[in-house]
């Protein structure tokens, strides 16, 4: 199975808008939303079935047994993540799960064995199984381990889509763990760039990150007419870095309309949709 991952570096450049359009154009039978912190793809993919949900258990975190706790405070003293709080009323210390990193120091330091580590539900994996396989997930607020959930989203898609030869993955913004987890094992990356000073800065960072994995990379520019000078800069940059520049998409209020009606930009006739259509034709020749 060949996999195309859509990334951006900066948020809001149009990753999901472009990814959803490519899914429709390519008629991909398998796709995934790896932006587990803020999944959006489900809003425009017209699911016909309810998803199957599985609990996602993240990194184990500490829990204090308040009946055993003697309030010596050693755990709080040693915790480097400010995750332990004293509750005078309940006569115990307790763990803030948003701050706890699951290191286990409090467990070993506690003189009375009042602390143990336990995996909690950190989110939900969702699988839509119909004529197409759509794998996605939602991470609970404040959870740390999004990389692992991203890996599970991809794994779920690959396990279910056995006879599929092409899949598209909507990635997440940034350059951190979830992005790196999503790049692993894909064949192609399409970067959706924005022609602004912040967009270029973020694009350079994501390209540097992606290049460590030696994946074939394409670049396109969205909302290119907001600044054609910067768009040209991006195209030059792509040439210098030997990355393939595959097209420009205009700013299009029709796109907003389509999205808000739960459609992709190729479900209606609009300028941005036509531009993505051309980008798809260019990419198709390289797959």
């Amino acid at each position: 199975m060949q996999q195309l991952l859509v990334l951006s570096g900066k948020g809001g450049t149009g990753k999901t808008t472009v990814a959803s359009a490519l899914i429709q154009l390519s008629q991909a039978k398998a796709f995934a939303d790896c932006d587990v912190d803020a999944p959006n793809l489900d809003l425009v993919m017209h699911q016909t079935v309810e998803p199957m949900t599985t609990n996602y258990f993240g990194m184990a975190k500490a829990i204090v047994d308040e009946d055993v706790c003697i309030e010596c405070g050693q755990c709080q003293k040693q915790c480097r993540f400010d995750a332990i709080v004293h509750d005078q009323q309940r006569e115990t210390y307790f763990i803030d799960h948003n701050a706890c990193e699951g290191c286990g120091v409090c467990k070993v330091i506690c003189p009375v064995g009042a602390i143990h580590l336990e995996s909690c539900i950190d989110g939900q994996l969702q699988l839509y199984k119909a004529e197409r396989i759509f794998s996605t997930a939602q991470l609970k607020m404040g959870s740390g381990t999004s990389g692992m959930l991203v890996t599970q989203v991809k794994k779920q898609m690959m396990e279910q889509a056995i006879n599929t030869d092409f899949a598209i993955i909507d990635g997440s913004p940034g350059i951190g763990c979830p992005v790196i987890a999503s790049i692993s094992g894909v064949d192609y990356v399409l970067i959706v760039a924005e022609p602004s000073i912040s967009g270029i800065s973020d694009m350079e960072r994501i390209i540097t990150t992606a290049s460590r994995f030696g994946v074939k990379t394409f670049i396109c520019v969205n909302k290119y007419d907001v600044n054609t000078e910067y768009t040209d800069k991006i195209e030059d940059y792509a040439k210098r870095k030997h990355l393939e520049f595959v097209g420009r998409i205009p700013y299009d209020t029709q796109a907003v309309k389509a999205i808000n009606q739960g459609n992709t930009i190729v479900d209606i006739d609009c300028a941005s949709g036509r531009a993505v259509g051309q980008i798809y034709e260019t990419i198709k020749k390289r797959l």
């Binding site: 570096g9 900066k10 948020g11 809001g12 803020a38 040693q78 699951g102 607020m141 800065s201 907001v226």
Partner: protein, 285 residues
Amino acid sequence: MKIAVLSGKGGTGKTLVSVNLASVAEKASYVDCDVEEPNGHLFFKPMIEHVESVKVKIPKINNEKCTGCRKCVDFCRFNALAYVNHSVKVFEDVCHSCGGCMLVCPENAITESDKPIGRIERGISEKVQVHTGILNMGEASGVPIVKQLLKNDTREDELVIIDAPPGSACIVMESIKDADYCVLVAEPTIFGTQNLSMVHELVELFEIPFGVVLNKCLDEDNPAESYCNDHKINIIGKINYSQDLAVLSSRGEIVSRIDPQYQTIFKLILEHIVEEVGYATTSRT
């Protein structure tokens, strides 16, 4: 007073709002906590006065004292230690700096040394003190940088505008936890609204007073506005989409510094917030 500007989703205009709120104030600090992709400094272009490294602690093994008991290897939940060739090997990129291996070693064979994970650049742009956090590429967590950015004690009357990272993960929580007010920036799409509901949940959880700025407004129905109305959320500002604004922003211009119309818009938003925080403080006493 600390005001944190956040959005569930990237690209809604968090930086536009935070940079301009800081610029229209009499005097303010702007703190960029989006350490993976800091952007505020591209607008301020501050004169840098000070750069400081942000470091975390990494274990250092004294192999002469080490007896190969492997208690440290077995303890580490992040698999940052391995025992090979009769010595303990440390993997810095997965170490969480918890200090636990040092505690469990029965031979005192483990000490700690510093590893830089990023830096903070501090500078000035007109009346704004600009503090930018930058995470080195490849590093796992920017939380230590945010902690250091927000560590400085600020006086009550100082205005601090915090540009939070997108999303609602730990680093966002770290950025907003001591804020007096949160500005949620929303764009008029269903994508933006879905993510607005996430940060809405977050600020309710932290019990911080908040309001919404609707950005990139068009003439169409605005799902984010409907969401605010449905949930009785205070809308403290509306910025219409304008090609001119988009172009100026793309060039890294601070619009309130060059266009009086925007200066007024952001001044009104800031006044609104100050009033609300004042009200919230008095009603809490």
